[in-house]
C-alpha cells in the first residue's frame, strides 16, 4: 500500500504542476460548455426570438394573434416589395402576406422547424383560431425531464464533460512517455515495482480527476452559464446514478489513456493519436453535433462511438431520470471497452518492454 500511495502522490504532484494538462482537463470543457450552451440556445429553443411582420387586411389583429412562443411582431413594411427587401437583408425573419391565398416570406437562414411552426400558427389564425388557445388544447409532457424539455445547457454539459474526461489521454500519456523516455519506468521496474502496480498508480488519481471534472462541469452548467445569460442546468434527482455514469465513462477514458500511453512512442504521437481520436469520437458520437440533428444513417454510425454510449448514460440520468436499468446497456459497453483497452495496453507493454 505504501508503494501505491507513493505512486499516487507522485502522479498528483506531477499533474498539479502540469498547467497545460490541467487546462485541457478543466478549462477546455468548461469553456466549451459555456460557449456551446449559449451558441445553441436558439437551436434548442431556449430563448428563441423570431421577428415577423404581417401585411394585408386586418394585419394588426393577425400579428397580435401570431405572437408568442418566441415569435415577436415587428413594425410592418410599407408594401410587399419592402417586405421582401427586409427579409433579404435579414431585418425580418418572416413576413406573412395575409389575404385569400396567404404567403409566408421566410429568411432562408431560419431553421426549418421554426418556419414550419410559424406556418402552423398562420394556418390556425387563418382558420379563425388563436395559437395560444390551440396549444392549451393538447398538453405536451416531457417524460422524466425535470424542466420539461431538452435545452442547450442540458445537452452541452454532459456532452463536453464526456469530451473533457476522455482528454485525460493527453496528460496521462505524456507523463508515461516521459517516464519511458527518461528511463524512470525502467528504473522503477528494476527496483522491483511491478508494471500492474505502476498502472494502478495512474488509474486512481485520474479516476478521481474525472469525477472532479464531472462535479466542476455540473457547477459550470448550474452557475456560470446562467451568469452569462443562458439557462441553468437542471440537476438530476439520482446523484448515485450520475456518479455511476461518470464512473463508467471514466473507466473507458482510463483504458483509452493507458492504451495510448503504452502504444505511443513519442509525445507527438500521443498528442496526435489521443487528440484526433477524441475529436473523431466526439464528432461521431453526438458531442459536437447533437445526434438528433444527424440523418438516420449517421445516427447508426454514432452508435460506434464510446462518447455516444457515455452520452446515453448521462442522458438516461439527467434527462429521462431513468433507473439503474436504463443506464445498464451504456454502462456495460463502457466497462467492457475499458477492460479491453486496459488488456490491450498490458499486451502492448509486454510486447515492447520498458
Amino acid at each position: 500500500m505504501r508503494r501505491l500511495a507513493a505512486l499516487w502522490a507522485k502522479e498528483w504532484l506531477a499533474l498539479s504542476r502540469d498547467l497545460h494538462g490541467l487546462a485541457v482537463l478543466f478549462l477546455m470543457p468548461a469553456a466549451f460548455i459555456a460557449i456551446m450552451s449559449l451558441a445553441l440556445s436558439d437551436t434548442f429553443g431556449d430563448r428563441m426570438r423570431v421577428d415577423f411582420a404581417v401585411l394585408g387586411p386586418d394585419a394588426a389583429r393577425i400579428a397580435s394573434d401570431l405572437e408568442g412562443d418566441g415569435f415577436r411582431a415587428a413594425a410592418a413594411p410599407a408594401n410587399e416589395a419592402a417586405a421582401r427587401d427586409a427579409v433579404r437583408q435579414g431585418k425580418l425573419s418572416l413576413v406573412l402576406l395575409a389575404g385569400p391565398r396567404p404567403v409566408v416570406l421566410a429568411d432562408p437562414a431560419l431553421p426549418q422547424p421554426q418556419v414550419l411552426a410559424f406556418r402552423m400558427r398562420a394556418l390556425a389564425v387563418t382558420l379563425g383560431a388563436r395559437p395560444a388557445d390551440l396549444a392549451q388544447a393538447i398538453e405536451v409532457e416531457a417524460v422524466g425531464m425535470p424542466r420539461g424539455r431538452l435545452s442547450s445547457v442540458q445537452q452541452s454539459v454532459p456532452a463536453w464533460l464526456i469530451f473533457g474526461m476522455f482528454f485525460l489521454v493527453l496528460p496521462m500519456s505524456s507523463l508515461f512517455i516521459v517516464e519511458r523516455r527518461d528511463g524512470t519506468l525502467a528504473r522503477l521496474v528494476a527496483q522491483g515495482v511491478p508494471f500492474p502496480l505502476i498502472l494502478a498508480g495512474k488509474i486512481a488519481p485520474y479516476f478521481l480527476i474525472n469525477l472532479a471534472q464531472a462535479g466542476l462541469m455540473l457547477l459550470v452548467g448550474r452557475s456560470v452559464v446562467p451568469w452569462l445569460g443562458g439557462e441553468a442546468l437542471a440537476l438530476p434527482a439520482r446523484w448515485d446514478l450520475l456518479l455511476l455514469a461518470a464512473a463508467c465513462t471514466s473507466v473507458a477514458a482510463l483504458g483509452w489513456g493507458l492504451l495510448v500511453a503504452a502504444g505511443a512512442r513519442t509525445l507527438e504521437q500521443a498528442t496526435v493519436i489521443g487528440g484526433v481520436g477524441n475529436i473523431l469520437a466526439a464528432a461521431l458520437g453526438g458531442i459536437m453535433v447533437p445526434r438528433f440533428v444527424m440523418p438516420q444513417a449517421m445516427q447508426r454510425w454514432a452508435e460506434l462511438s464510446p462518447m455516444a454510449w457515455a452520452l446515453d448514460a448521462f442522458h438516461a440520468v439527467m434527462l429521462r431520470e431513468g433507473a439503474g436499468a436504463a443506464l445498464a446497456p451504456a454502462c456495460l459497453k463502457l466497462l467492457a471497452l475499458g477492460a479491453a483497452l486496459l488488456a490491450a495496453a498490458f499486451w502492448l507493454h509486454r510486447r515492447r518492454g520498458v
Binding site: L13, D182, T184, A186, A190
Partner: protein
C-alpha cells in the same frame, strides 16, 4: 562474488551479447568498457531484471539492486526531496527508515542545499548526483552505474568518482560503465572490455593493462579504431 555465466541476448536476429562470462568480486568496482553498441547497456538491463537472457545465468546473492541509468531517470517537475521520497516510497521505505536513508543519501551526494528545488532547475552536476542518490536509497548490494558522469563539469566528475570509490563495502558489487578510460583506470580495480557482445579481456586492472601505458591503449588495441556509429 557475482558470476555472469555464458550470457547471450539478441534483438531479433541481431546478437547483442554472445556467451558473456564475467566474475565481479565483492568490494570491487568493476569497470565495463566497450564502444557504442558493444552490449554494455543490455548487460546492465539483464542484471537489473529488465530483460531476460536468451541463454546463460547470473549467480550471486544480489537481491537489492540500485540502478543508476545513463539517463536522468527522475521527475523533473518534482523537487529533489519529492523525487527521493517517491523513489524511497515505491521501494517500500517509510517512516523513520525513509528519513534515515534520505538523510544518508543527501549527505553522500551533497544535495542538502537543493532539496526543495525542482529537479529540472538543478545544474547538470546536481542532476547526476540526484540520479546517483536515488540509486542508493535502499543500500543496494549490487550497484549498476551506466555512464554516471556524462555531461558534468570536472569538479562534479571528480566528486562523483570519489563518491563511487567511497561506495565500496564488503557485501557490495559495483558495476561501472564509462567511455572515459582515465575514470575507469582511476576508480576500478577490475575491468572487462567487450565488443560486439563478446568479452575481449577481463580481470584485475593490472592484468588487463599488462605493460600498456594506459587503458585507452589497450581498449583501442582490442576494439580497433573503426567508428561504430
Amino acid at each position: 562474488m557475482l558470476k555472469i555465466e555464458s550470457l547471450s541476448f539478441s534483438y531479433g536476429k541481431t546478437k547483442v551479447l554472445d556467451d558473456v562470462t564475467l566474475s565481479i568480486p565483492d568490494r570491487a568496482v568493476f569497470g565495463l568498457l566497450g564502444p557504442n553498441g558493444a552490449g554494455k547497456t543490455t548487460l546492465i538491463s539483464i542484471l537489473s531484471g529488465l530483460r531476460r537472457p536468451a541463454a546463460g545465468r547470473v549467480e550471486g546473492d544480489s537481491r537489492n539492486i540500485g540502478l543508476v541509468p545513463q539517463e536522468l531517470a527522475f521527475y523533473p517537475m518534482l523537487t529533489a526531496r519529492e523525487n527521493l521520497r517517491f523513489f524511497g516510497g515505491v521501494q517500500n521505505l517509510g517512516g523513520a527508515r525513509l528519513r534515515e536513508r534520505l538523510e544518508a543519501v543527501v549527505a553522500f551526494a551533497r544535495l542538502d542545499g537543493v532539496l526543495d528545488r525542482r529537479a529540472a532547475e538543478l545544474s547538470g552536476g546536481l542532476k547526476r548526483r540526484l540520479n546517483l542518490a536515488i540509486g542508493l536509497l535502499t543500500e543496494p548490494d549490487l550497484v549498476l552505474l551506466d555512464e554516471p558522469t556524462v555531461g558534468v563539469d570536472p569538479q562534479s566528475r571528480a566528486f562523483l568518482l570519489e563518491s563511487i570509490g567511497a561506495m565500496r563495502s564488503p557485501a557490495r558489487h559495483i558495476l561501472y560503465t564509462s567511455h572515459y578510460m582515465e575514470e575507469v583506470q582511476a576508480i576500478c580495480d577490475h575491468v572487462a572490455i567487450i565488443d560486439a557482445g563478446r568479452v575481449l579481456a577481463a580481470g584485475p586492472l593490472a592484468a588487463v593493462l599488462g605493460g600498456a601505458a594506459s587503458l585507452e591503449e589497450v581498449f583501442l588495441g582490442l576494439t580497433n579504431r573503426r567508428l561504430r556509429d
